[in-house]
Amino acid sequence: MKRVTLRRRTALLSGVAALAAPAVLRAQSDPIKIATLTPLTGAGGPYGPVMAKVAASVVDEVNAAGGVLGRRIQLTSEDDQTNPDAGVRAARKLIDVDKVAAIMGTWASSVTTAVAPLCWESKTFLCTVSGADSITQLPHQGFLVRTQPNSTLQVARSGTFMLSLGAKKIYTMIPQTPFTQTTFDLMGKLVAKAGATHQGLIYDDKKTTYRTEVDQVLRSNPDMIFAAGYTPDTIILLKDLYRAGFKGKIIGFGYAINQKLVDQIGQPEVVEGVYAYSPSPDEGSKAYERVKKATGLANPDPYTCQVYDHVNLVLMAIAQGKAATGVGIKDNIRAVAQGGGTAVDNAVDGLKAIAAGQKVDYSGASGPCDFDDKGDIIDCKFRYDQIKGGKFTLVKIG
């Protein structure tokens, strides 16, 4: 019996020691703490790890150049498991235990919406790449910005592009998402104005075949299909459209129709001529080149570019406000992101300029990074690609 008591006590002690460890580290130095909360596992698993990696590379660069305000930067990377419950628990830990000034990179809209109240209530700054319109409409008191264009903007751009390709009968095939209804409403209005017609169908994104859905859509004989799903369901959808002999044009989001989709389908004729569009990273910019180098990827995705910009902006805002707090970042992020001044594309240069008393204006890997009052991105370029012979070829950027 006594042995058991001892064992329990040891277990308890080691548990307490594990919990207390960050406090011990905190006493040794006084670094500035920031965090990424990206999906390292779950549905967002393909994106989150690279995002965490590029954030670490920015922190390493800045630390090598002497840190911010003479303090070292300490980055913590947590996993939101692409799940709001796990995301909230991880955020609570980052806010209350690590006491970070900013959380960056939340990906799924549901995770961002769940984490946002914790952030604004505890005055922690949140940078996100989620697209749902509702996110910036939350009462976030300025503690949130997003670098991803909201779904209204994305859908409007795709509609304009489809019409420019001469589409007369557009059919949208989309799973249930926060932007499904917005997509239908917007496309309906946009397309009607141009004298074309639009119809929509919602499908279940966990199904293994879409033959009935495809049959239903083809009955009305559309000349353009907007396949607005994610990669796994779009793979099945494109195959079923090909089998059904659809001869019109197809367009989808770049995050779904990517090289991985082409490789997994494995038959170039299925995807021949399919269009993909996405918020364009600022290709050719120095910041974009640095993201390429840090990740070792030839075409880093938009989310990775955006997280690179989050870290740079947050660090410069801390220097600008001379305060490593969420409030300091909230009050100063627009001062370093927009409004003219010395043009910079990385935090190391920006921090030097700020130390020299200059006003800076950051443009990063994802674009100019200017925010409106609600935290939405103001200007964003899109790129349109077409698959030819299994390869993505650029149609236009604009």
Binding site: G15, A21, P49, A52, N83, V111, A114, S134, Q176, T180
Partner: protein, 305 residues
């Protein structure tokens, strides 16, 4: 740090309610309910909609959640009266998925995949940073009440009938027990508690969405009950808290490991949790606290002879 511990304790207590709910139906009556996440969702949505759209007081939302969960439980048992074991498990799993899909697709009612944000918390504005502590007290009080009720049931003739049904429903029937009524009542009560847990969760974090109610929650609660001890309320409760301690302390343990990348850390965390659960089930297959079946009361006849 304190706020974080309060937060984790509250979530742990809500998992505790779910574990008590599952223990009643699985440990008690032997019915496998894989639809726990569904009842959790029904309660969360009932209370969230009642307090945001209909502006009812929060307590009314909680009572409504209890009732909605119970009603859903009743519907599920009465429509599956002929199913047992694996078949019941499959139907309940299906039920949970149906609830999630309805929540995602009936946008007019549930706001779809956007979820419902801004769910009010009791005296949240007034309490400020003390909210977490007060809410934990509320949840603990409810948990204590439910726990006492469960222990009462466990030791009462009612609990013995449930156990008899678990061991052999036919024998219980022959002994003159209305098996269906017992099953339906127990299932409805269990589902009602899960619904109440959902409501407590929603008003605590202020946001619910269909993504929250994936089968993962059900799996966690099954692990908690299996690890803590099936058939004993205290075991289920301890299992739920241990699970939460395990999930969260793994976070800090992996931070102590140097050089590995963020992804490897996330994978290592999952690995630690899996190994710990395997060890518990290997070393204590009946759970940490195994079921205590009280001796049958002596019949008065025996004493006389």
């Amino acid at each position: 740090m304190l706020n974080y511990l309060l937060f984790i304790a509250t979530i742990g207590s809500i998992y505790g309610l779910l574990a008590l709910s599952l223990n009643l139906i699985w440990g008690g009556a032997g019915m496998v309910n894989l639809g726990l996440a569904g009842f959790f969702a029904v309660g969360a949505y009932a209370s969230a909609l009642a307090t945001t759209d209909a502006h009812l007081p929060i307590v009314a939302g909680w009572i409504l959640a209890l009732a909605a969960g119970g009603l859903a439980g009743l519907v599920v048992t009465l429509s599956t009266t002929r199913l047992r074991e694996d078949y019941l498990a499959i139907v309940t799993l299906g039920f949970a998925e149906v609830v999630r899909l309805v929540a995602a697709n009936e946008v007019w009612l549930t706001r779809g995949t956007d979820g419902i944000s801004g769910i009010p918390g009791p005296w949240k504005a007034l309490l400020g940073s003390d909210f977490n502590a007060v809410y934990l007290l509320i949840v603990l009080t409810i948990l204590a009440l439910v726990f006492l009720l469960m222990r009462r049931i466990d030791r009462s003739p009612y609990g013995r009938v449930l156990r008899a049904i678990r061991e052999d429903a036919q024998v219980a029937q022959v002994a003159g027990k209305p098996v269906l009524r017992f099953k339906a009542e127990a299932f409805a009560l269990s589902a009602g508690i899960a619904g109440l847990a959902g409501a407590l969760y929603g008003h605590f974090t202020s946001y619910i969405a269909p993504d929250l109610f994936l089968p993962l929650i059900t799996v966690y609660v099954f692990l908690a009950v299996a690890g803590g001890g099936t058939g004993r309320p205290a075991g289920a409760l301890i299992g739920a808290y241990l699970l939460m301690v395990l999930l969260e302390s793994a976070r800090f343990l992996v931070e102590l490991v140097p050089v590995i990348s963020a992804v490897q850390r996330a994978a290592l965390k999952e690995l630690i949790i899996a190994v710990a659960l395997i060890l518990v089930l290997r070393l204590a297959p009946g759970g940490l606290l195994s079921e205590r079946v009280p001796a049958a009361p002596r019949l008065p006849m025996e004493g006389k002879s």
